[in-house]
Amino acid sequence: MARIGVFICHCGENIGRTVDCAAVAQESAKLPGVVVSLDYKYMCSDPGQQMIKNAIAEQKLTGVVVAACSPRMHETTFRRAAAEAGLNPYLLEMANLREHCSWVHEDRPIATGKAVDLVRVMVEKVKRNRALYPIQVNVEPTAMVVGGGIAGIQAALDIAAGGKKVILVEKSPSIGGHMARLSETFPTLDCSQCILTPRMVEAASHPNITLMTYSEVEAVDGFIGNFEVTIRKKARYVDPAKCTGCGSCYTKCPQKKIPSEFDALLGKRSAIYTPFPQAVPNKPVIDAEHCTMLTKGKCGVCKKICPRDAINYEDKDELVKVKVGAIVLATGFELWDHSKYGEYGGGRLVDVIDGFQFERLASASGPTAGEIRRPSDGQVPHTVVFIQCCGSRDEKQGMAYCSKICCMYTAKHAMLYRHKVHDGRAVVFYMDIRAAGKGYDEFTRRAIESDGAEYVRGRVSRIYRRADGKLIVRGADTLAGRPVSIEADLVVLADAVVPRKGGEKLAQMCGVGYDTNGFYSEAHPKLRPVETAAAGVFLAGACQAPKDIPDTVAQASACAAKVLGLFAAPKLEREPIVARVNQNLCVHCRACINTCPYGATQDREIKDRQGNVVKVVAEVNEGLCQGCGTCVAICRSNAIDLDGFTDEQIFAEIATLE
């Protein structure tokens, strides 16, 4: 038989003023199963809590209803008190007499009547509560960070600094990401490589970090604390253990005309290559597509020249399985393909370039050694037109959103160009200037006021190449209210920031959602900006939304904090409000599996003693379930129930309201 205790709080005058608490206590005492019903001035005070604890012990209570404020306020307090008195904390429920009754009604008899109802409902519910115990999940204290750009490097370094192991997976031959390609960074104009490369080296040498470059995530199984990840280590054809990074191989490689991805196709590289001189690890790989030894079996120069015999043409991809407890996705971004804009030449005009190409032209280590020279003829351009919002804020053909960083880097580009070409003319077409950030607006003002960039507010409607090689840029100056036409030598498009192609696949593997643009979805846009719907998977950097470097680094460090928090205890305790499948009733229609926002409902084979599969059913993974109960309502057989909100409890509540 249920033995329920009811405790009515006056909350000083807050409840007591409009609710006759003594009368509620009296009425509650008459409810079936209630053995003690008391009211008190402040139930949350020490004496109040003691009153509950004493009653639990003396009356051998099987359930408690505290009728006080909102459970959002003090449920934890009272449940802790119950636990201290030896009652399972999940056998305590709260009736909300303050926020939902005394504060919103003035008529004392009516409010008192409603308060009795609220208590009665909770009494009937709590009678059907059962003891629940926090779910313990083992945690493998190793993190995997996917993406070796600044976001991934920062997250890995911070986790490693916290004393936990990190596997940093990067698909290209070197870490560094886009930041390694930048010339200078806004708003301070410090050299990007100068501030980045020490971090890259630190990541490579940190004892807690395992670098896996030229590798890609192939499969992700498991759940928070217990992910099993399969990583494809692509064939490098160079044994990194033997290679010293001396560079003889790429110096001698006869295939030297391959457009360099790192240089945004403006420079060239060899078939055996490191992407850039400061690459980490500084060990080359062979590009199997362009190496004649691998394609035609002819050449072999690198093998002959290598003093360490590190070249292995027989190398194969390798699949490595690792166990990790948390995953940080830091896969970054790429630039929107502006060839979709026919009016800007549809990608056919070689002197219409994107932001990265300009970065490489401006970079001291770039293909022009930092001189601004246009791709078509290598001449120094005298007029450069910069166009912002190329593909951004364009629902029709491009992306609907603002790419956030373009205003700043375009100002930087205009500035760098004017610093390098003193008599040059920099014209910037913009829609709005969005320079919200520390020192950002000052920076754009500086570009305009000190460095003489001409800002034209308006869109460019057409770019074409005149027979003399000039690029004619026609647009509108909406402030002056007239069309403008500029004869330019070089046009730089601030292409929209878009997520990495193929990023959806990784998201699906991890159970992470993504928006219509392909950016990964955070668990809550305001309050959980680094978590995802998949517990144990976190987001850093531009894979979640366009971001500049400081925001990216901040988010990466936030990820590290989340990961270290998760790894702080060997076991993870989770709220036991989870769904459970009655496997006898489940007919495996898979509705719940389709429905679960967290991928927590999964197929489970039931086998007989011989190991034959006799039935397949759905099963809830406690590690993933967040307790929303959507699967429960979707199940036609009602083979699923939700602890804490069982059908029996809810039906009792409804019946009590009759």
Binding site: N584, V587, C589, N594, T595, R636, S637, N638, E648, A652
Partner: protein, 271 residues
């Protein structure tokens, strides 16, 4: 009888002879009735018959253990039955290789198909099955009534329901191990064959058909009391198509309609 009944028989015989199936689920003639035939030997195929009076949805047998134990099997299936098979595939009750389809319609036999082939045939040949016009007329009449009249109409219709659950038994979509109406902790739906129990039963039965009913009519045919269940079924199917642009039983990989969502699903009624 359809003209090329011999072709069904010989196709069935071939499947049995070649060991491709262990059982052919079809129809046979018994007096004025058409009843299910369970043919396990090639020499029994002579009993197989098909005409428009063969209205049972044989896909309903696929939940029976006694029938499932004889998989792989073949089913004589008209378009609605094929759609049931698509639903059962989508809801992982059957899989390719377990069920072969002997496709029929009122014109006759249209060949032996696997489930993928059945999906193709359905979408090519039977993409639009016109709903029964009398159903639509009746629905229009009911919808034109006042709420009180509608309530009275249905209470009159549900009154004779004895809760024999013949409707459930005849429906291929009702494959639950234990039906919601049989849950008693708590008792979801009163099992008494009285007003509120009957109302709840018929509402929930219809709701559980949302996005699933292929409108084969087997439930209504099975009802000894003549309750017009197809009115509810057709209404639900119509609403599902209107609201979610979904038609049931055409895609063996379909996501459940109730169990998936679109951001722009209508919500004008939500304030």
């Amino acid at each position: 009888m359809v003209a090329n009944i011999n072709e069904i028989q010989s196709a069935a015989a071939a499947l049995l002879n070649e060991g491709k199936v262990k059982l052919v689920l079809g129809y046979r003639v018994r007096g004025n009735d058409r009843v299910p035939a369970f043919v396990t030997q090639a020499d029994q195929v002579g009993c197989l018959a098909y005409d428009s009076a063969c209205t049972q949805n044989l896909a309903a047998y696929l939940r029976k253990g006694e029938v499932r134990s004889r998989m792989p099997l073949a089913v004589v299936a008209r378009p609605e039955v094929m759609r049931s098979l698509m639903l059962l595939t989508a809801e992982s009750q059957i899989a390719e290789g377990q069920v072969t389809v002997l496709a029929v319609d009122e014109q006759g036999f249209h060949g032996v198909l696997d489930l993928a082939g059945t999906a193709k045939l359905l979408n090519e040949q039977y993409a639009r099955i016109a709903p029964d016009s009398s159903l639509m007329e009746q629905l229009a009449k009911i919808e034109a009534m006042t709420p009180q009249e509608r309530s009275a109409f249905w209470s009159e219709q549900f009154e004779p329901c004895t809760r024999c659950y013949a409707c459930r038994a005849a429906c291929p979509g009702c494959f639950c191990e234990r039906c919601i109406v049989e849950m008693n902790t708590p008792q979801w739906i009163s099992t008494a064959a009285e007003s509120h129990g009957n109302f709840a039963w018929h509402m929930i039965r219809a709701f559980h058909q949302a996005g699933r009913c292929v409108e084969c009519g087997a439930c209504q045919d099975a009802c000894p009391q003549g309750i017009p269940l197809m009115l509810l079924n057709h209404f639900i199917a119509r609403e599902v198509e209107r609201e979610f642009d979904a038609r049931n039983g055409y895609d063996p990989q379909a996501e459940p309609v109730i169990g998936s969502w679109k951001q722009d699903d209508k919500q004008e009624y939500i304030r």
